[in-house]
């Protein structure tokens, strides 16, 4: 490698943004096209700093919008480069049109999505509205609960996305501020180990292969479109999760850190559990342990891979549970929550007799406190004891005013 390596300590104190930037440096990204937006900005700023300081051979493309940022990434990826960027919230919303292009063109871009609420009212703090907005876009979606995981999942995302059997773009979600700006001790890989894990970029149908010119971004109408979309869906449904499991196993070998499509915590003999994402998973784990000290068999299920949804792993994790709470950190705006629906869909044709209730929480960065979770676990235990759901199916946690409950 013709650039400087960085000496890292066994334990570094990084926030989630810096962790993602470090992973992008170690993966030696060729092109970052980016437009800054809170709270994701330090990721691309970090890449630009590493580039300016001679730690990366690459290009930083400053563009006029997030739509242009992802368009630049698409062009660079089609040209045959390893490409990544980062965004949040409104920026992600502006990117949406190009997200579908990237996945349909089967370009392995990695997007760090630092989760933030969507306006209006404008809000810079963390919730999962942007994550949910991208869930039908054909991208692989990983979810990190901590800076360490944001770092690890970036390296993992490149290896999965760039595999020639996969060739699909991947998002790595992390909570705005709670993860992105919270410095924690984490164990990075050495530059050599990280790069060896991700591997050399292997181009596929790249536009810069002048001996085999190609056209990317074609048009198909009713005679062709459906087959292309069906094949993309098929690859997401059939190929991606086995590949992720394989890469998770490879990563465990070099790091000792084990990832799963669905992260189970104290689930083996649990009666009740919460299913959630982001930094809430860590809070819920702590509270679940405390509930156990009080004789309540509580567990936590974290969704590590939101797309493709690990349907059968969700069934397996929840099959013996008596009462489940699905926690959605995004306003469903006129429906049950996304996780509620995913879990209901997964369990519906099984023998599960689980009582499933949904909770909307944490919008716009509102804290999910341990006290909230204690009350929630108690409510789940009451459901389990009563053998029926004792509340309405959808409730809100931590919102002021008269109690809101629906369905």
């Amino acid at each position: 490698m013709a650039f400087d390596k960085m000496e890292l300590r066994d334990i570094e104190v990084w926030d989630g943004n810096f962790a993602a930037a470090q992973a992008m440096r170690q993966a030696q990204i060729d092109v970052v096209a980016a437009y800054p937006i809170t709270p994701s900005t330090p990721i691309v700023e970090g890449y630009a700093q590493f580039l300016a300081d001679g730690y990366i051979e690459g290009e930083f493309v400053m563009v006029e919008s997030e739509h242009a940022a992802m368009s630049g990434c698409i062009g660079a990826a089609a040209a045959g480069g390893r490409v990544a960027t980062a965004t949040s919230s409104q920026g992600f919303a502006l990117m949406v049109e190009t997200l579908y292009q990237a996945s349909g063109m089967r370009l392995p871009i990695v997007l760090n999505l630092v989760n933030r609420a969507l306006a209006s009212p404008l809000n810079v703090n963390g919730d999962h509205s942007d994550m949910y907005l991208g869930r039908d876009s054909g991208w692989i979606q990983f979810d990190a609960y901590s800076p360490q995981e944001a770092y690890d999942l970036n390296l993992i995302a490149f290896k999965v996305a760039e595999d020639h059997d996969i060739r699909l773009p991947a998002m790595v979600n992390q909570d705005g501020f709670l993860t992105s700006h919270t410095a924690q001790g984490l164990k990075p890989l050495s530059d050599d180990a990280a790069y060896a894990f991700v591997g050399e970029f292997k181009p596929m149908n790249d536009m810069l292969d002048f001996e085999h010119p190609v056209t990317h971004g074609v048009q198909t109408e009713e005679d062709w479109h459906f087959e292309h979309k069906a094949r993309q869906h098929n690859d997401l449904m059939v190929k991606v999760l086995p590949k992720i499991k394989e890469v998770f196993a490879d990563f465990e070998k070099i790091s000792g850190r084990k990832y799963n499509l669905v992260e189970k915590y104290d689930m083996d003999d649990a009666d009740i559990c919460v299913v959630c994402m982001g930094s809430s998973v860590e809070t819920a784990r702590e509270v679940a342990s405390e509930m156990r000290a009080n004789g309540i068999k509580a567990g936590v299920v974290g969704i590590r891979v939101l797309r493709p949804i690990p349907f059968f792993e969700i069934i397996e994790a929840l099959k013996d549970i008596k009462a489940i709470a699905a926690l959605d950190r995004s306003s469903p705006n006129g429906a049950a929550g996304m996780l509620f629906n995913e879990i209901a869909g997964a369990l519906f044709n099984t023998d599960s007799k689980a009582l499933l209730s949904g909770y909307v929480y944490g919008l716009g960065g509102r804290d999910l406190t341990k006290a909230h979770l204690v009350a929630l676990f108690k409510e789940l235990q009451a459901n389990a004891d009563a053998g029926k759901i004792t509340t309405q199916l959808q409730q809100f946690i931590g919102v002021r005013g008269p109690k809101l409950a629906y369905l």
Binding site: M105, R167, P213, T215, E227
Partner: protein
């Protein structure tokens, strides 16, 4: 080559401009290149056109403006001399006529069914006022 079937496309609906490897493409003229059926070069879009340019070489000064400005690379120029229009790809936008600096113009737009020889025989004369 037979046309590709619905299940024969490569990942991402990516299309190859040529079948197999090519070399020295910059020094190979369009008509001598082995474009694949997936290349727009092998597809005629002439039926998009309602009016067409007719080229009168008697007035052309080979300035190449039309060649530079044509958005469809449909002006055929060889050794810096305009020799005609690629009527399979010309959409009839008239930009070549607009940018032509000669008096009278060397390219003019006519209805699609106009006869080339007839129109050239009755080509407008030099416009003295314009000069």
């Amino acid at each position: 080559m037979a046309k590709k079937g619905w299940d024969e496309f490569e990942i991402g609906a990516m299309l190859r401009t040529f079948d197999g490897k090519i070399d020295d493409i910059a020094a190979t003229r369009q008509e001598d290149r082995a474009y694949s059926q997936n290349s727009s070069y092998t597809a005629s879009v002439a039926d998009w056109r309602l009016i067409k340019p007719i080229f009168n070489k008697d007035y052309c000064i080979d300035c190449q403006f039309c060649w530079v400005y044509c958005p469809d690379v449909s002006i055929i120029s060889r050794d810096k001399k305009l020799i005609g229009v690629d009527m399979d790809h010309c959409k009839g936008c008239g930009i070549c006529v607009e940018v032509c600096p000669t008096n009278p113009k060397s390219l003019l737009m006519f209805p699609e069914q106009a006869d080339e020889e007839t129109e050239i025989a009755s080509w407008p004369k030099k416009d003295e006022e314009e000069a």
